[in-house]
């Protein structure tokens, strides 16, 4: 490989133009000069630009994120590391995190989504955990938008292509379509791994003189300035950014995963970190920051796959499937042997130093010399102006009296089941391997996925939720609802929450209206987390999700993990046997604001989202959990988009066997569409044997949860007296074929 020498690489001069093109404000540049006590050279400017980018520094979100509760009795590691860690007993811990890959996925859907999965997998195994389950949370534009089928097919194939090949099951996720995402899709990827509690590794560069070892794929020019790209809004120019999207190689990732886990069994490793956003620069600088040390890199040793790469390019490359290790001095050969066995490069590229400086040498010459703290803890932090926009009043205005109730509510239910936001997502899930590792107890499509933990009686439940429309209408309430719904989904399978990871997807933080949405959502999430006792252990923020000045709906996605003490006791959402009694836990109100019904049938995204009483929420969830503990529930299903009508239909048709009918008669007196399709929170439909009804009543009463017997399972029709009477076979056929058909029609 032809390498440059220092002489061939004269640093280009730093001009006002280069400063601006690296995204610095004048004030930020002045600060750099102040820190260095001199002008930075071109390479240093690049290093600052990625480390101070919104994506790496969290400069606009930091002050708000501090509000979130991050502690809990079982939390071993909260935010700040590669991923969060929670103790699950039996000497085991789960390690999990969610991350966004929105911008690359819009530009190049297959590779963008694939490398999103690759990145989050590395965040997990870098901590010594074997990844055992992935989820994803996706948002696309309207299903009939010309780009949607292309983007959706590419993203799904990319997620599958990468995850399947690495052998990590994708056990669940969510998919939501809305015009708001037409020009800025969201791809949030989550992975959970399992580790022995006493063999957890962190990204710390400790021990002066210890070698820094580069392992994995070689470095190319791909992804340079990816972190900066993720910190800018989209414009028509974005299409031209396609070459900055990294290309994934899941096979190398698989080798890297196995090699790292093998190495971690031995006694060679001090610290380890994925080279993710901002590549070698951020991994080295962040490890030094956590270790309270400095690092010295010899860039002449970095394995390259392209000719003539400059130090600037090597430091900023976001080539995939690379890790940086800090090994114990003298163990270099042992490390190399492990990676050789897996046919991977392992090269000493530097060492840990005492001076707390980030230094890089190239061909003997020092090209970067920056204090580590300047790149990490002392990066700029902003309290950006935030202001509720005037237009919010108009958005929330909804006069139900002007909304005409459809004459045929059965037809309305059919249209809702045909909505891609409600319809079965099997077309997506069947492209993901959800069996590998043979742990999957409840596969994608239920309220939450359930996996068992081998060698124990325990299980884990996983879900991801977040309704951007609710957050757009009322970001504070929307933030609470995202947390509450995730916890409720866990309760429906019988799991108690142990922690969550989130992606906060918003428009530009430089807009006061967006910052207002952001701060409101975070406050809502905080209140939800505190009330339901769920710590936030990891996550990320993705700003600048806007195109030509129009931001997406504010969209927090909440991936929550729950524990089942006995996995064999889990419950699924669909009805099991004719004759079972159908019970509604919770209380329905006349609430149609922000509902899927209002959007699909009346074309409106208006009003205020359903209100939530967190005490009621807790009572309903606890009642469901206790009834599952006692083994009396045959099914439990959360009411969400589409309300009671859709939830009942799903109870009838979403099972793996033949659909089952039901006859119900809810007692609430309110207009029919609100009774059927209102999205009041804190509601769960359960089914059970009649003889167990009194036991359920006792539990609900003790917890303070309202409950009403609404009907009985059986027959071949879904009857909601006196509003609806439809054959379940017909409902199933609409619901299960809609997504595929609509994608075909849209092409």
């Amino acid at each position: 490989m032809a390498r440059l020498s220092a002489k061939q690489f004269p640093q280009p001069p730093v001009s006002a133009d280069t400063i601006a093109s690296h995204g610095f404000s004048e004030e930020e540049y002045r600060r750099i000069v102040q820190i260095l006590e001199r002008e930075p050279n071109f390479t240093e400017l690049g290093v600052f630009s990625v480390m101070w980018s919104e994506h790496c520094s969290y400069k606009s979100s930091k002050v708000h994120l501090k509000l979130l509760p991050t502690d809990g009795p079982a939390v071993l590691q909260g935010p700040g590391e590669n991923a969060g860690i929670v103790d699950i007993g039996n000497g085991l811990a789960v390690v999990f995190k969610m991350e966004s890959h929105n911008h690359p996925s819009f530009i190049e859907p297959y590779q963008g989504a694939a490398t999103g999965v690759g990145g989050i997998l590395r965040d997990i195994f870098t901590m010594g955990a074997r990844p055992i389950a992935s989820l994803n949370s996706l948002r696309f534009g309207a299903i009939d938008h010309p780009r949607t089928p292309y983007l959706l097919s590419g993203v799904v194939a990319g997620i599958g292509g990468y995850g399947n090949c690495v052998g990590v099951p994708t056990v669940g996720g969510e998919l939501f379509f809305d015009e708001s995402y037409n020009a800025n899709i969201l791809v949030n990827a989550f992975t959970l791994g399992i580790a022995e509690k006493k063999r957890i590794f962190t990204g710390k560069a400790k021990g002066v003189g210890n070698p820094l070892i580069y392992v994995g794929a070689k470095t190319g020019r791909d992804g340079i300035h990816g972190a900066t790209m993720a910190s800018e809004a989209f414009s028509e120019e974005s299409e031209k950014r396609r070459p900055t999207v990294q290309v994934g190689d899941p096979f190398t990732e698989k080798l890297l995963l196995e090699a790292c886990l093998e190495l971690m069994k031995g006694d060679c490793l001090v610290g380890i970190q994925d080279m993710g956003a901002a590549g070698l620069t951020s991994s080295a600088a962040e490890m030094a920051a956590r270790g309270g040390t400095g690092v010295e890199l010899d860039l002449s040793r970095v394995p390259l796959r392209e000719r003539g790469m400059t130090p600037y390019e090597m430091l900023l490359s976001e080539s995939q499937e690379r890790m940086l290790l800090v090994a114990k001095k003298g163990k270099e050969e042992q490390v190399k042997r492990v990676f050789e066995r897996w046919d991977l490069d392992a090269v000493v590229v530097g060492k840990v130093t005492r001076d707390r400086l980030f230094r890089a040498f190239f061909d003997g010459a020092e090209v970067v010399r920056i204090p580590v703290a300047a790149l990490t803890s002392e990066a700029p932090v902003y309290t950006r102006p935030a202001e509720r926009p005037q237009s919010q009043d108009d958005v929330q205005r909804l006069d139900l009296e002007k909304i005409e109730e459809p004459a045929d509510l059965g037809a309305a239910l059919k249209r809702l089941l045909d909505s891609p936001n409600v319809a079965s997502k099997e077309w997506v899930f069947r492209q993901y391997d959800h069996f590998v590792r043979s742990n999957t107890v409840v596969a994608p499509g239920a309220d939450a996925a359930v996996i068992r933990i081998k060698g124990t009686e325990k299980g884990l439940a996983l879900t991801v939720d977040g309704n951007g429309r609710y957050c757009y209408l009322d970001p504070y309430v929307g933030g609470i609802l995202a947390v509450a719904e995730a916890a409720r989904n866990l309760a429906c399978v019988g799991a108690r929450p142990i922690g969550l990871s989130d992606c906060l997807n918003f428009g530009s933080p430089e807009r006061p209206d967006v910052m207002w949405q952001f701060s409101q959502v975070v406050q809502g999430m905080r209140d939800g987390c505190i009330a339901l006792g769920v710590p936030v252990v990891s996550g990320n923020v993705s700003f600048y999700n806007e195109t030509d000045g129009v931001p997406i709906y504010p969209t927090p996605t909440v991936a929550m993990v729950g524990l089942l003490p006995q996995v064999a006791r889990h419950v699924t959402p669909w009805f099991k046997s004719p004759g079972d009694i159908v019970v509604l836990l919770g209380r329905s109100r006349e609430e149609l604001g922000g509902s899927e019904y209002l959007k699909v049938i009346h074309g409106l995204a208006k009003g205020t989202p359903p209100w939530i009483d967190l005490r009621l929420e807790r009572a309903v969830q606890h009642s469901c959990l206790k009834a599952i503990d006692k083994g009396i529930l045959h099914s439990a299903h959360d009411l969400s988009e589409g309300g009671l009508g859709v939830a009942l239909a799903e109870c009838c048709i979403s099972g793996p066997e033949k659909p089952l009918g039901a006859r119900v008669e809810p007692r609430e007196m309110m207009r029919g569409d609100a009774r059927l399709f209102g999205e009041s929170q804190s509601r769960i439909i359960v089914s059970l044997k009649e003889k167990d009804l009194n036991r359920l009543r006792e539990i609900a009463e003790k917890e303070g949860a309202p409950m009403q017997v609404i009907g009985e399972v059986g027959g071949s029709r879904l009857v909601v007296h006196p509003l609806i009477r439809l054959p379940v076979d017909e409902l199933k056929s609409i619901w299960s074929s809609s997504l595929e058909r609509r994608l075909r029609d849209a092409r």
Partner: protein
């Protein structure tokens, strides 16, 4: 008896096979590294699913050149039992131990779901514990599972009764809708003429416990155990 499960670079289901044999059937199992020669006494060698070498060229095309494959071919020629699951099936076809080839699914998409297969023959070590016509519910998960063989080969497969499992619907009928990947003649798995090498696309190891949705997959493994018990211990490699 003793099982060997080969680990190729990019294998994904080796642990699933190992755990299924060990935890559900109390078997002795060893992992075998693809770079090592095949050594030791084994009754059945399993080539597990996954994406060996990333399957970047053609599924299984690279793995057949792994050092261990020389020993696997010799083992099979001596009558040793070889079971290829999914990617393992693809490797066995590439290695010439099984006839035919596996091509892109007709849908051009990766497909993961449970299917029914029908046991077509029971006079093999891989199916002897089952009944002819019996249905097994097994998971599939592959992008290249569409079985193809030229007409002469297909005729030979019929004549020698080498088609051991076919995709069927819940009632046991072969229909186009029940065939998930467009396989020729709905073929889900075939054996060689000697009936000691078997490859199939579905994953019996992921259907070994009720809590995972069924235990029909055990039928394949317990057939091997039964056959080995009958034929005496370690009949094939000493």
């Amino acid at each position: 008896m003793r099982w060997g499960v080969i680990v190729f670079p990019g294998s994904c289901d080796e642990q699933d096979v190992y755990d299924c044999l060990k935890n559900n059937l109390r078997q002795k199992v060893d992992f075998l590294w693809h770079k090592d020669p095949l050594a030791g006494k084994f009754d059945c060698i399993v080539l597990p699913g996954g994406f060996s070498y990333g399957d970047y060229l053609r599924s299984g095309a690279m793995a057949r050149f792994s050092p261990i494959m020389k020993g696997v071919v010799e083992f099979a020629q001596k009558g040793g039992l070889v079971l290829g699951i999914c990617n393992g099936f693809q490797i066995l076809c590439e290695a010439g131990l099984l006839p035919g080839a596996l091509t892109r699914n007709a849908s051009l998409q990766f497909i993961c779901r449970r299917v029914f297969v029908r046991l077509e023959e029971t006079d093999t070590p891989f199916t002897c514990a089952g009944k002819k016509g019996q249905l097994l519910k097994l998971p599939i998960k592959h992008g290249e599972g569409c079985y193809y063989a030229d007409p002469t080969t297909l005729e030979r497969l019929h004549k020698n009764r080498q088609i051991l499992v076919r995709y069927v619907d819940a009632k046991g009928r072969t229909t186009p809708a029940a065939d998930p990947n467009g396989s020729l003649d709905h073929i889900a798995g075939v054996c060689n003429e000697g009936r000691n090498v078997f490859g199939l696309m579905p994953h019996p190891e992921d259907a070994g416990e009720k809590i995972l949705g069924g235990e029909d997959g055990l039928k394949i493994f317990s057939s091997v155990i039964e056959a080995c018990d009958k034929r005496g211990k370690r009949a094939w490699l000493d």
